[in-house]
């Protein structure tokens, strides 16, 4: 199968992942263990883009502002629109990152790391390594959360518990 064909036929995986992340963060379960690295907390923050899953694919709903109070975004989700992009905040310990995650390619837009303290003029390599470490830290954490989602999605628990709870939360958005 060609790459673009594969991306198109499996894009529901990224869309379900974003919907699940939203559900987790809104129901107080947005904290995920990272083993020895502690835990990561994720929550939706601001911009969210929803799109029809089947027909009317050109129709997009873009909601800005406080996502937790965005009735329009929840209503669109309840109306069978899929989350295609969301601005996410991620925190590990005292550090906080923000980015827009795209459901189709898992690309990152407007990726912001915590403030770096190294000076590029005095120590260019120091700046590079600090920034690299911060980028990698967030990506590893998000990979761990994605991994949890996939393992859950492939388990019997998905159909038995997680999906009914997720659908119930989605319906409450109407």
């Amino acid at each position: 199968m060609q790459l673009l064909e594969r991306v198109g036929s499996t894009e529901f995986i990224g869309r379900e992942f974003l919907a699940w992340l939203w559900f987790k963060s809104e129901t107080g379960e947005g904290s995920f263990p990272l083993g020895e690295a502690g835990s990561v907390e994720l929550w939706y923050d601001g911009r969210i883009v929803l799109q029809a899953d089947q027909d009317d694919r050109d129709e997009k709903i873009i909601c800005l502002g406080d996502t937790s109070r965005s009735r329009e975004a929840r209503f669109a989700l309840a109306e069978r629109k899929a989350v295609t992009e969301a601005k996410i905040r991620l925190s590990i310990g005292d550090n906080e990152w923000s980015f827009i995650l795209d459901a189709t390619w898992l690309n990152f837009k407007s990726f912001k790391t915590p403030r770096v303290v190294q000076d590029d003029k005095e120590d260019p390599d120091g700046l590079f390594y600090e920034k690299f470490y911060l980028i990698e830290q967030a990506l590893s954490a998000l990979d761990a959360v994605f991994s949890s989602f996939i393992k859950l999605r492939l388990s019997a628990d998905w159909e038995a518990r997680e999906l009914p709870a997720l659908l119930q939360w989605v319906r409450e958005g109407k």
Binding site: R6, I13, R80, F128
Partner: protein, 206 residues
């Protein structure tokens, strides 16, 4: 502003195939063949792309292997483009056509002749255009076999993957949800066919 100096957008890739054992000997030569070269002002060249120092986009010498930042290779992909603005091209073409019609006493010019005039005007104007420069950071984690590339434009990402292949002889595979799920399953020792058996669940059960 690239990934190192500010915020930015990026796509992630998995590098397919093993890292050559002699990469420290092999890569400097490969990278130097693909460093950025300025567009020759006298030429008709419209575009140039190649590697520059990730910390300084005007440094394309990379003589001290500044890009080797263990466990990474970190470079910026610089793309210079010079393009004659379409309205300016139209204006100068019209002026050139009028001049020829007047000097040769013609009422109309053939399509072929107008095309020749356009090409000649384009060539002349191109030499006056200052190229615009963009850089896109690339961080290759050699241990993890991952690359992050500082753009999410599909066309640019495709072009970059091709450039990377030409430079290093290694394929880049985008880490999109299906592929990421596949990697999770492999890492967990589960059956890879499980990922192919996945069907949309969120709206299908209602």
């Amino acid at each position: 502003m690239g990934l190192i100096f500010g915020s930015g957008s990026f796509a992630r890739y998995r590098v397919e195939g093993p890292l050559p054992e002699d990469y420290l000997e092999q890569f400097p030569e490969r990278i130097s063949r693909f460093t950025f070269r300025n567009i020759d002002e006298a030429s008709e060249q419209e575009r140039s792309a190649g590697w520059v120092n990730i910390m300084d986009m005007f440094d394309n010498r990379l003589s001290a292997m500044e890009y080797l930042k263990e466990p990474c290779i970190a470079l910026s992909w610089r793309v210079d483009v010079r393009k004659v603005p379409s309205k300016a091209l139209k204006r100068y073409c019209r002026e050139a056509e009028e001049k020829i019609k007047e000097s040769e006493g013609l009422e109309f010019l053939s399509k072929k002749r107008r095309l020749e005039i356009k090409e000649s005007v384009q060539e002349k104007l191109l030499k006056r255009v200052i190229p615009s420069s963009q850089t896109y950071d690339m961080i290759w984690n050699l241990h993890a076999a991952t690359v992050i590339f500082g753009s999410v434009s599909n066309n640019l990402c495709d072009e970059f993957a091709e450039f990377f292949m030409q430079c290093f002889g290694l394929h880049l595979k985008p880490i999109f949800p299906y592929y990421a799920a596949f990697e999770v399953v492999l890492k967990e020792g589960m059956d890879p066919a499980l990922v192919d058996s996945l069907r949309p669940s969120l709206w299908e059960v209602e």
